[in-house]
């Protein structure tokens, strides 16, 4: 009873989440434009990775957050996108636009083909099946000589002086995923996704072809992850299955979206900034036990802020309401 009373006062922030949080996220994006100006190669990579994880988190947010199908297979799309760039590079094509375009097309098709059977599953079964996609693809690639098998292959690399190109490419990919999520959430499509998440049977009775819209969500989410992979591969200069299908690339985006706020426009980006930033600092100062702090942080945040950080932006009455909600959740 108490919980609902508090939640009522806080408000839901609508289908996009708090508009203040979106403004904050976009402002931070503008600030991130300045990173390469510092000519600090390390920082540039750190922030490029944040943007990369953010783009993947947006991909996950669309299928897991908005549509309610918790996928553990987004890394498959990231890896597929990365290998698209590697293949183009092996054929002498050195163009980031071509990389991203190919990754999007390949991933959309891949998502439709895989989605038709997999999206019939729900809940845990869907999660397990998607986990299998990433593992299977990793093993397939590791056995394909054309893709360098498990020893990997070099991907074209612009000279060091123009390294910022990859940073800005990743920035653009991340921006596209944020804006894409915003416009999708506000469109008819967004309402179909949320209706499916809330109650698939009721959605069908309202005329929503659940299969079609689930596959749409899954395909767009695959394109988002694939675009990030397509920029990552040449930026990294080298690709092998353990890099392309790493467990970090699978888990980080999910945790980031949850930390920031599932099913919101600003959440994944804010989650990515905080989580990747914290991870970087913990690694720097507590290299041996940084995963312990990292894990503890995730547990605490999920316990005290189950609806994500973006939720705080929508609070009426600020921290006091939030503290009240904590006691309410316990009761």
């Amino acid at each position: 009873m108490m919980t609902t009373a508090v939640l009522r006062r806080i408000g839901l922030g609508g289908i996009t989440g708090s508009p203040i949080a979106i403004a904050v996220a976009l402002a931070l994006m503008v600030v991130l434009l300045a990173v390469p100006l510092g000519h600090n190669g390390y920082l540039e990579i750190v922030f490029r990775n944040i943007l990369m994880y953010a783009a993947m988190a947006y991909g996950w947010n669309l299928i897991g957050g908005y549509t309610g199908y918790v996928s553990f297979g987004q890394v498959a799309f990231f890896g597929a996108g990365a290998y698209c760039s590697a293949v183009l590079s092996a054929h002498g094509i050195d163009n980031l636009f071509a990389d991203v375009a190919l990754a999007c097309v390949v991933n959309a098709l891949f998502a439709v083909v895989v989605g038709l059977p997999v999206l019939r599953l729900k809940g845990h079964y869907f999660a397990i099946a998607t986990l299998g996609i990433g593992l299977a693809l990793s093993d397939i690639v590791a056995n394909l000589d054309a893709l360098g098998a498990s020893s990997g292959l070099a991907v074209h690399h612009v000279d060091e002086a123009h390294f910022y190109v990859y940073y800005y490419a990743m920035w653009l990919v991340a921006l596209a995923t944020i804006l894409g999520t915003y416009f999708i959430a506000r469109s008819k499509l967004g309402f179909a996704f949320v209706a499916i998440r809330e109650n698939e049977e009721a959605a069908a009775v309202l005329g929503i072809d659940a299969t079609r819209y689930k596959i749409t969500a899954w395909a767009i989410s695959a394109m988002m992850a694939g675009a990030a992979g397509a920029v990552f591969a040449p930026a990294n200069g080298f690709l092998d299955p353990s890099i392309a299908f790493s467990i970090d690339s699978n888990v980080f985006p999910i945790v980031m979206a949850i930390l920031g706020g599932v099913g919101t426009v600003a959440g994944p980006f804010i989650g990515a900034l905080i989580l990747a930033g914290a991870n970087e600092l913990l690694q720097r100062y507590f290299i041996k036990i940084h995963t312990l702090f990292f894990g503890a942080m995730i547990v605490i945040v999920v316990l005290i802020l189950p609806r994500g950080l973006v939720w705080l932006f929508g609070l009426k009455g600020g921290a006091r309401t939030w503290l009240k909600s904590l006691t309410a959740f316990k009761a």
């Binding site: 839901l12 309402f191 009721a202």
Partner: protein
């Protein structure tokens, strides 16, 4: 024009020998009846008589084991569930199913977006339509609230508004008045009459006898998955078979007792007239 004129007066839904089996249980068997365009059909029967199953068959959620339901000549079992509302058939759920994290207005707008004329509506037009319907059902005051915040009567109203957002010709109402108090039932009936006046055919499943009698033009009675009676409300309720099956033998017995008590009172009054006591 002539075709439209004919259908307006004729049969909207034709239910032919519908049977529905779940494992070894026939929840429905050999149910047949027609629903006229513009009418209000009341569907009654004891608990477990198959009313909700029939609703699920008509709305395309279940495919019948035998027989068929046709709407303007089209078999409903041939179209997928999500396309049934595009034919012009909408329904409400007995257990209300609002999209809890969306606002009341957004809930209704989803129907307007994907219903029968959804393809032609922009997001903005859908929200405008939703607002109209919320005013019509009396939910405009809570349009911005989360659907999960609504009281039971308001949730029922929301179900009706969501179904109306699909622009249906036929509306199936599965116990929209259950759990409402007397005043709320009156309001709900008024709302349904209004909907029917706008040309929407209604199929109403309800336990409240008074409500169903006052709104229906025809009543169909189900018992143990079979149709046991059909006709005008007064005739159906007078039928001994219905009284036996639906109201039960206890009701019959109580009527008998009441008659005896009334007779005894009359007898007593005759023996001791009030003037004698004065």
């Amino acid at each position: 024009m002539t075709a439209a004129g004919q259908t307006a007066a004729g049969v909207a839904l034709r239910i032919t020998d519908v049977g529905m089996r779940f494992g070894g249980l026939w929840a429905l068997s050999d149910v047949s009846f027609d629903v006229e365009h513009g009418s209000v059909l009341g569907l009654i029967g004891p608990n477990g008589s198959g009313k909700t199953t029939l609703m699920n068959v008509v709305s395309g959620v279940y495919k019948p084991t035998t027989g068929s339901v046709t709407y303007d000549g089209r078999r409903i079992a041939d179209v997928p569930t999500h396309a049934v509302c595009h034919l012009g058939i909408a329904r409400t759920f007995q257990v209300v199913k609002p999209f809890a994290s969306l606002t009341v207005r957004e809930n209704v707008a989803v129907g307007a977006m994907y219903g029968r004329y959804g393809g032609k509506r922009s997001t903005r037009a859908s929200f405008e339509r939703a607002q109209e319907l919320l005013e019509f059902v009396g939910l405009a005051r809570v349009a911005e609230r989360a659907a999960s915040d609504l009281t039971i009567p308001d949730r029922k109203r929301l179900e009706v508004a969501k179904a109306l957002a699909l622009d249906p010709d036929v509306l199936l109402l599965d116990e929209v008045m259950a759990g409402l108090n007397a005043t709320e039932v009156e309001e709900a009936l008024e709302l349904l009459r209004d909907v029917n006046r706008r040309g929407v055919t209604l199929i109403v499943v309800e336990h409240l006898m008074k409500a169903i009698v006052s709104i229906s033009t025809t009543i169909v009675v189900l018992a143990e998955g079979r149709k046991i009676a059909q006709g005008a409300p007064a005739d159906v309720l007078a039928s001994p078979q219905v009284i036996e099956a639906y109201l039960g033998s206890r009701w019959v017995k109580r009527q008998e007792q009441l008659r005896i008590i009334a007779a005894e009172r009359e007898e007593a009054a005759r023996m001791h007239p009030p003037e004698a006591g004065a």
